[in-house]
C-alpha cells in the first residue's frame, strides 16, 4: 500500500477521504484539517488566548499539540475529577505531556471546588454519572477560562463524538439540542466561547496522529462511561461507516447545512448566581452551587 501523495509506504487507509497515507502525510493532513476548521468557523485568531480542556486522552492532547504547532497561544486545564485510579493516571499523562513541551497546564481538583469528587458525588447524587460529570465540567471549565482571561475554550470533540451526539439527538428529536449543536458556541458576558476544532477528524485519525507523533495518552475508558449510550451510538455509526464509507462525515456536513431549520429554544435570560457570581438560567443559586450545598450537608442531590 502506497501513500496517495508521495508514494512512500502507507500505514493507514482513510476510506471516507479516499486516501492512503504515510505517517508524514497523515500528520500533515490532520493539522491541515484543524487549521481549515478553525478558519472556516472563525473559531479564534492567532492573537486570542486559547484554553484547551485536557483529559489525558488522545483527542485533547492531540488538539493541544496541533494548536501549539499551528502557532496558537494555547494553555491547558486539567480537571481532576476524583475518579479512583483513573483520575490519577489521566493526570499523569496530561502533566507529562505539558512538561515535555514546556506548556502551561492548570490543574483543578473537583473535590477542592465542590467538596467531593465524582466518585463521592455519585454515592448520594441522583442522575446518570456522565450527566452529573458534564454539569461539573462545563461549570468549572468555563469558570477557569473566564477567571484566567481566556478568549476561548477548546475541547477535543471529534467527528465520531459529534456524529454520535447528533444521532442521539435525532433519535429523540431533541429540537432544542439540534438547534444548539454547532462547532462554535459564542461567548457572552461571563460565558466563554467554546469551540471544537477536531470536528471533521475521525477518532481513528486522531489516534493515529498521537501514535505517529509519540503522544502518550490514557487508553483506558472512564469506569463510569462503561455502557454509556454514546459508545453504543458510536458502534452503530462505525458499522454503517464500514459498509458505506463517508457516512459520519456526510451526516455532520449535511446537518450543518440544514441545522437552521430547527427552532432554537426561547432565549433564556441569564443572571448571576447569587453565590458564585457565574451565569445561570436558574432562579437562585446555579446548579453547581446547589450541588455544592448538598455535598456540604451530605444530603441527596
Amino acid at each position: 500500500m502506497r501513500c496517495t501523495i508521495c508514494k512512500k509506504p502507507a500505514v493507514i487507509k482513510l476510506r471516507h477521504a479516499n486516501l492512503k497515507l504515510c505517517p508524514e502525510h497523515l500528520v500533515a493532513r490532520v493539522e491541515k484539517v484543524v487549521a481549515e476548521t478553525i478558519k472556516k468557523f472563525r473559531m479564534f485568531t492567532p492573537e486570542e488566548r486559547v484554553l484547551v480542556a485536557v483529559s489525558g486522552g488522545k483527542d485533547s492532547l492531540a488538539l493541544w499539540e496541533i494548536l501549539t504547532k499551528l502557532g496558537y497561544r494555547a494553555d491547558g486545564v486539567y480537571l481532576d475529577l476524583g475518579i479512583a485510579g483513573y483520575s490519577e493516571r489521566s493526570r499523569e499523562f496530561s502533566e507529562a505531556f505539558a512538561a515535555a513541551r514546556g506548556l502551561a497546564l492548570r490543574v483543578v481538583r473537583v473535590e477542592g471546588e465542590l467538596g467531593a469528587g465524582i466518585d463521592g458525588l455519585l454515592r448520594f447524587a441522583r442522575g446518570k454519572p456522565c450527566s452529573l460529570c458534564g454539569t461539573v465540567k462545563r461549570y468549572l471549565l468555563n469558570r477557569v477560562a473566564y477567571e484566567g482571561g481566556y478568549h476561548v475554550l477548546a475541547t477535543g470533540h471529534n467527528l465520531d463524538d459529534e456524529a454520535a451526539t447528533l444521532l442521539g439527538n435525532v433519535l429523540r428529536w431533541e429540537e432544542g439540542y439540534l438547534a444548539r449543536q454547532y462547532p462554535v458556541l459564542p461567548g457572552e458576558g461571563k460565558l466563554v466561547r467554546r469551540v471544537k476544532p477536531l470536528l471533521f477528524l475521525s477518532e481513528r485519525e486522531v489516534a493515529a496522529y498521537c501514535i505517529i507523533s509519540g503522544i502518550e495518552y490514557i487508553y483506558e475508558e472512564c469506569p463510569h462511561a462503561v455502557g454509556a449510550r454514546s459508545i453504543a451510538l458510536k458502534h452503530v455509526l462505525n458499522e454503517l461507516e464500514d459498509r458505506y464509507p463517508g457516512t459520519k462525515l456526510g451526516f455532520i456536513r449535511g446537518f450543518l447545512k440544514v441545522r437552521g431549520r430547527f427552532e432554537p429554544p426561547e432565549p433564556v435570560e441569564l443572571r448571576d448566581c447569587p453565590v458564585c457570581g457565574m451565569p445561570t438560567a436558574a432562579e437562585g443559586p446555579c446548579r453547581f452551587c446547589r450541588l455544592k450545598e448538598r455535598v456540604s450537608h451530605g444530603a441527596p442531590a
Binding site: 502507507a10 500505514v11 489516534a207 501514535i211 454509556a228 464500514d242
Partner: protein, 63 residues
Amino acid sequence: MATLKHRDKTYTVKPGATLERALRELGIIPETVLPVKEGKILPPDHRLEEDEEVELVDVISGG
C-alpha cells in the same frame, strides 16, 4: 501462529493472512482499531508472520 491483542482478549491467527482479513475474520471492524507493533502503525495489507505480536489499539472513547 501470530497473536493479536485487543483489550483483555488475545487472538491467535494463522500467519500469512493480511491484517485486514484477520480483523474481518475476527469480526472486528477495521475502523475501530489501529494495529500497532513496537510503537508503529501497521498497514491493513501487512501480512502476519509466525510468532508476530500485534496490539489492536481501540480508537473509540466515550462517555
